[in-house]
C-alpha cells in the first residue's frame, strides 16, 4: 500500500513537470460529417455461430492532436468520442437465433498510420427465438405448437476493438476495417447473467452526404514551452 502511494505520488510529480515543459493550444470548430455505416460478420459462441451486425455511428467530439516533440519530430493522432445504434443477429442451430438492438457509446484513438484502438459500451433489447419447433403439453396430454417461440431479455455489452482507418492515407477512401471481440451479458437467465463471447469483423464506410451532422472538433497543438507558437 505504501509502495503504491509512493508510486502514485512519483507519477503525479513527473506528469506535473512534464506538463510544465509543454504548452497546449486548442482551437474549436464544428465540422459537418456524414454518418458511417457499419456492416460486419458477427459470430456468437466464440465466433463460430454465424450472424451479422449493422449499425450507424456519429462522432460527437473529435480531438485532433499535433504534438511537436523537443526533438522537433511531429506526432499526429486523434481521439474520437462516438455514439451509435447497432442491430446484431446470429443463428445458433439447435439453440436459438437472436436479435440484439443496442445503442452504444465509446471512444477511439487513431494513430497517424491509421491503426486505431477503441472501446465501446452498449445496452439494449435482445430477443431470442428457439432453434426448433416448440410445443406445450397440457395436463390432459394435449400437444400444441408454439409459433415463433422466443423470449425477451435486457443485454449489456463491453466491446474493445482494433482496426485501420484507410482515410488517413487516402482522403477519398472513408473506409475502416475492424476486428472486435465482444462480451455480452444477457439478463435474466436462470436467475443469473448469461455471458456470450462474440467475435466481429467488418467494415465501416462513410457515404458522402449521408445523415450529415455536426462534430465538435478540437484541433490541439502541443509544443515545447520554449518553442515559438
Amino acid at each position: 500500500m505504501r509502495l503504491l502511494s509512493l508510486t502514485l505520488l512519483f507519477l503525479l510529480i513527473v506528469s506535473a513537470v512534464h506538463a510544465q515543459n509543454y504548452v497546449r493550444h486548442d482551437s474549436i470548430a464544428n465540422v459537418f460529417q456524414s454518418t458511417p455505416i457499419k456492416v460486419s460478420y458477427l459470430g456468437d459462441n466464440l465466433g463460430v455461430k454465424p450472424g451479422f451486425n449493422m449499425g450507424i455511428e456519429h462522432t460527437f467530439r473529435s480531438i485532433e492532436i499535433e504534438k511537436i516533440k523537443k526533438s522537433g519530430k511531429i506526432k499526429l493522432k486523434n481521439r474520437d468520442y462516438f455514439y451509435g445504434l447497432n442491430l446484431t443477429a446470429y443463428q445458433h442451430t439447435g439453440f436459438n437465433s437472436a436479435i440484439y438492438l443496442h445503442p452504444e457509446i465509446g471512444f477511439r484513438k487513431t494513430k497517424n498510420s491509421g491503426f486505431y484502438t477503441e472501446l465501446s459500451l452498449g445496452t439494449g433489447w435482445m430477443h431470442t427465438t428457439l432453434g426448433g419447433p416448440t410445443y406445450t403439453v397440457d395436463n390432459m396430454g394435449n400437444v400444441n405448437k408454439v409459433n415463433a417461440a422466443g423470449s425477451d431479455f435486457w443485454a449489456f455489452n463491453i466491446t474493445p476493438g482494433l482496426g485501420w482507418d484507410f482515410s488517413k492515407h487516402n482522403n477519398s477512401l472513408p473506409l475502416k476495417y475492424f476486428i472486435k471481440p465482444s462480451l455480452v451479458f444477457q439478463y435474466p437467465y436462470n436467475g443469473l447473467y448469461l455471458k456470450h463471447i462474440m467475435m466481429e469483423t467488418g467494415f465501416s464506410y462513410s457515404f458522402s452526404n449521408f445523415l450529415e451532422s455536426h462534430t465538435k472538433t478540437i484541433y490541439r497543438k502541443i509544443s515545447p514551452s520554449n518553442s515559438k507558437k
Binding site: 439447435g94 436462470n190 443469473l192 456470450h196
Partner: protein, 346 residues
C-alpha cells in the same frame, strides 16, 4: 428508404424463422431438435437415429444440471437401430429460461411426464418407448414409474447407475470408500489420497449438511477414478461444445445456477428424499446397468432397488471396467446390453 426497411425486416424474419418448419418424425438418420416449453423453461429434445425402427429411447440425464446431448458420441450403435431422444432437463445443458423460480423434484417429474407425452404424440402410439436414466435421472424415473400412470407404449426402464433412493447415498458412498480404500491401501496404491477419503468418512459419522454431502460425493468421484480397473474418459469435449448446439457459457451457467441459486432443491434431493416406499409400486421391465466400481451410486443400490421393485422382468449387467459412467467407460458394451434387452422385449 421505405423499401430498404421492408427488405431488412423481411431478411430478419427469414433469418429468425427459417428453422421453424414442422419436422418429419421418421427416417433412418433423423437428427432434429424440438423444444418443450413448460413452466418457464424451454427444454431441447434432440432426436437422433433410426426413427423408422418404431423404438425410441428417452435418455434422462444425471446431475442435476448436466446435459444429455454430449452422450450421442457414445451411442452410435444404438442410433443405428433406434431413435434416441436426448432431453436437457430444466436448468441443465442448453435449456433456456428467463425464470429464476425455485426448482423442485416434483417439477422435474412433471416435465418428464410431458416429454414422454410429447414424444408419444409425435412418434405415434405404435412406437415403443424406453426410459434410459442415469444417476439423478434414476430419482425422477423411480417417481415416474412408481405412479404407474405412463402410456401403454412405454415398455421398459434402463436404469444406469441410478440414485433411485437418494437417502441411502451417504451410507453407501462411505461404505464403498472404506471397502475399495482398504483394498487399495493394502495394495499400496495412492495411499495418501485414499487415507484422506477414509479420514473424512471416519470423522463424519453422520452427514447432515449439503456441504458435507458434496465433500463426500467429491471424494467418492475422485476415488473411483484412482481405481486401476476403471477405463478413463474425457468428461468435457470442448470442440464439441463450441461447434455443437451447446452455448458454451450457457452450459456452464445452467450448472452453476443450480449450485448457486437452488440449494433448497439440492437439500430436498440429497438429504430428504426417501423413496423406499415408492419402489414396491414399480412394475415395468427393468434393466440395471451398473459400473462395478461406482462409488457415487454404488452397486449395492442396484441390489436394493432390484429386490424392492415388483417388475417380473429385472436383469442386471455389471460393467467390470466402469465406475459411475459406464456409457463413457465402456460405450460399446452398454450399447450392446441395451440392444439385447430391447430386442428381447419386442
Amino acid at each position: 428508404m421505405k423499401k430498404s426497411t421492408l427488405l431488412l425486416v423481411t431478411l430478419i424474419n427469414f433469418f429468425l424463422f427459417s428453422c421453424q418448419k414442422e419436422p418429419e418424425f421418421a427416417g433412418t438418420k433423423m437428427d432434429k431438435t424440438i423444444f418443450l416449453r413448460e413452466n418457464g423453461s424451454d427444454m431441447p429434445i434432440r432426436l437422433m437415429g433410426n426413427a423408422d425402427s418404431k423404438v425410441l429411447i428417452l435418455f434422462v440425464h444425471g446431475g442435476p444440471g448436466e446435459g444429455a446431448w454430449f452422450e450421442h458420441v457414445n451411442t452410435s450403435k444404438l442410433m443405428e437401430k433406434y431413435v434416441v431422444a436426448f432431453w436437457d432437463q430444466r436448468s441443465s445443458g442448453t435449456t433456456q429460461s428467463s425464470s429464476s423460480m425455485p426448482l423442485t423434484v416434483a417439477q422435474f417429474v412433471s416435465d418428464m411426464k410431458k416429454v414422454v407425452l410429447l414424444l408419444n404424440d409425435k412418434f405415434g402410439p405404435d412406437c415403443n418407448i424406453y426410459i434410459w436414466s442415469h444417476s439423478w435421472g434414476g430419482v425422477m424415473s423411480t417417481l415416474y414409474f412408481s405412479e404407474n400412470n405412463y402410456p401403454e407404449n412405454v415398455k421398459g426402464w434402463i436404469n444406469m447407475d441410478g440414485a433411485c433412493n437418494p437417502i441411502l447415498l451417504r451410507d453407501l458412498e462411505k461404505e464403498a470408500i472404506l471397502k475399495f480404500g482398504s483394498e487399495e491401501i493394502a495394495a499400496r496404491r495412492n495411499v495418501e489420497q485414499w487415507n484422506t477419503c477414509i479420514d473424512f468418512c471416519a470423522s463424519h459419522d453422520t452427514i447432515k449438511t449439503l456441504d458435507d454431502f458434496f465433500t463426500l460425493n467429491a471424494y467418492a468421484g475422485q476415488a473411483q477414478s484412482l481405481l486401476p480397473n476403471v477405463n478413463s474418459f474425457n468428461f468435457i469435449n470442448l470442440p464439441m461444445l463450441v461447434n455443437g448446439p451447446y452455448s458454451v457459457l450457457a452450459y456452464f451457467l445452467n450448472n452453476k445456477a443450480i449450485f448457486q441459486n437452488q440449494l433448497p432443491f439440492l437439500e430436498e434431493i440429497f438429504l430428504k428424499t426417501d423413496l423406499s416406499s415408492k419402489l414396491s409400486f414399480i412394475k415395468i421391465p427393468t434393466l440395471f446397468l451398473w459400473g462395478e466400481y461406482d462409488m457415487v451410486v454404488p452397486l449395492k443400490m442396484a441390489e436394493i432397488v432390484s429386490n424392492s421393485i415388483q417388475s417380473t422382468i429385472k436383469e442386471t449387467v455389471i460393467f467390470e471396467h466402469s465406475a459411475h459412467a459406464p456409457i463413457a467407460s465402456q460405450p460399446e458394451a452398454v450399447n450392446d446390453a441395451i440392444i439385447d434387452f430391447i430386442e428381447r422385449m419386442k
